[in-house]
Symmetry: C2
Subunit: 274 residues, 2 copies
């Protein structure tokens, strides 16, 4: 049997310490190929590049491990890597290790997780890793240990189709971590405030600031796991349907009629001459 | 009772014909305020602006309707609009009308839907509208009719907390539409290929191309509804947890042990001197 083929991506860019730690963490598990952004892409969500062409450039940053830097987003790296770099469908895609948490609602803003989700859409078992440490000199070694362990578990046991994993690792030494918990995404949110400033030309501008607030007191969430020194492992999928809301709407929206155009009052405010 | 406060956003930019149709569609339902990107933001997914400040500029593009153009992404427009433009929490956020479909998996790449989701995270009932027509001179009048109808239904009946709606409208005349269907997101995907070209300097570059393939034969999906001349209405939420996968992993991943660091083989390939 040939060695597993492992695609490594991230959103902090190919020179970030987190991807170096991840490449090392999985390099004993198979043939590793890196396709990562040529510049940091944090907060890019699931952005893809539609109106501009992409560039791909070979890099020797990881020695004898094949690596390419890509001019696009994390999701672009996966799409382009699978189509133009890899000689076959990879057995695993690992993304990260992100420098900072992607737990709870952070997943929807996360380039790290969008790369992993893009891979899962291609049918590739995939996982994103994030270290809950924003320090400039964050130590990725504990996160790398768990990345290796979880990557080997996925290669051994697989994942259900279209499922991927969102793994967050608490900061600190390995011996302080109690283990891993399989969790759901906590119902937490950012409470934003913009810091309003005035530039030298007298014009206002705004910096995003905010605090992360967890209103979810469940003990089965990623936030609970992380606060209690566990590695959180949230299985994720791309079906955003709120299935429980379908009966609510069918019951409330006067669905005796299927809302045909004839039943709908016509617009009479044609102020813009549509 | 005061008039409902309605925030209008989009991803095609404040000058796009779709947002003009949407402003008109909801202008008889309440006090309308527009905060929209100053340039097109298609395919931006749930990107937010972290490392740059944002600008906000008053616009008179919609006459006496209050409007601002924002230098950021669709999600930024909602965050900044709620914090700095609106005098109170809006009663409804409408996003669009997008020029092109956001059905099925397109939702994860969609700036239109990320703006609506951002609003729902703030606790605002919200909905994104998209017209399934890519023609340069697409006619938004049928979509506007349904946008008005659905916005008024949400104002009347509300939505469960953190639920939002992904509404797609088939192209064509209103009389050809059979009505509305409340649906789930179809399990469809893009099969991508990159078009490889060589620039005048001899370097390769890549354009994203691809075709949309629906492998989902359910008659309860948005793709089925659209193919059968119905407006599709998919209730959406931000919980990406694949709840059905939690028992799979707990059963398969040798969880007699909680995977403490002591149980995990240490990494011995310290090739990068982490």
């Amino acid at each position: 049997m040939s060695k597993p083929l492992i695609l490594v991506v991230n959103d902090d860019g190919i020179t970030a310490p987190g991807i170096r730690a991840l490449v090392e963490a999985v390099s004993n598990l198979g043939e590793v190929v890196v396709v990562a952004p040529d510049s940091p892409q944090s907060g890019m969500g699931h952005a893809i590049t539609i109106n501009n062409p992409l560039r791909l450039k070979k890099s020797n940053i990881f020695g004898d491990i094949k690596a390419y830097e890509c001019s696009g987003t994390p999701a672009d790296c996966v799409k382009l890597g699978v189509d133009k770099v890899l000689h076959r469908q990879p057995d695993l895609c690992v993304s990260g290790i992100n420098h900072g948490s992607n737990s709870s609602i952070n997943i929807i803003y996360s380039g790290t997780m969008s790369a992993a989700m893009e891979a899962s859409l291609e049918g590739i078992p995939s996982v994103g890793f994030s270290l809950c440490d924003y320090a400039h000199d964050a130590d990725f070694s504990t996160a790398a240990l768990f990345a290796n362990h979880i990557a080997s578990l996925i290669l051994k046991y697989g994942l259900p189709k279209y499922a991927l994993l969102n793994v967050n690792i608490p900061k600190g030494a390995a011996q302080d971590i109690k283990g891993m918990k399989i969790c759901r995404q906590a119902e937490a949110k950012w409470e934003e405030e913009y810091d309003e400033r005035t530039d030298p030309m007298g014009r206002k501008y705004y910096w995003l600031t905010g605090k992360f607030v967890n209103h979810d007191h469940g003990q089965d969430t990623d936030e609970w796991a992380l606060a209690n020194s566990y590695v959180s492992v949230v299985p994720v999928h791309h079906d955003l349907t709120a299935h429980h809301v379908i009966p609510f709407i069918n019951a409330n929206w006067e669905f005796g009629s299927p809302h045909k155009p004839d039943d709908i009052p016509q617009l009479d405010n044609n102020r813009f001459n549509l």
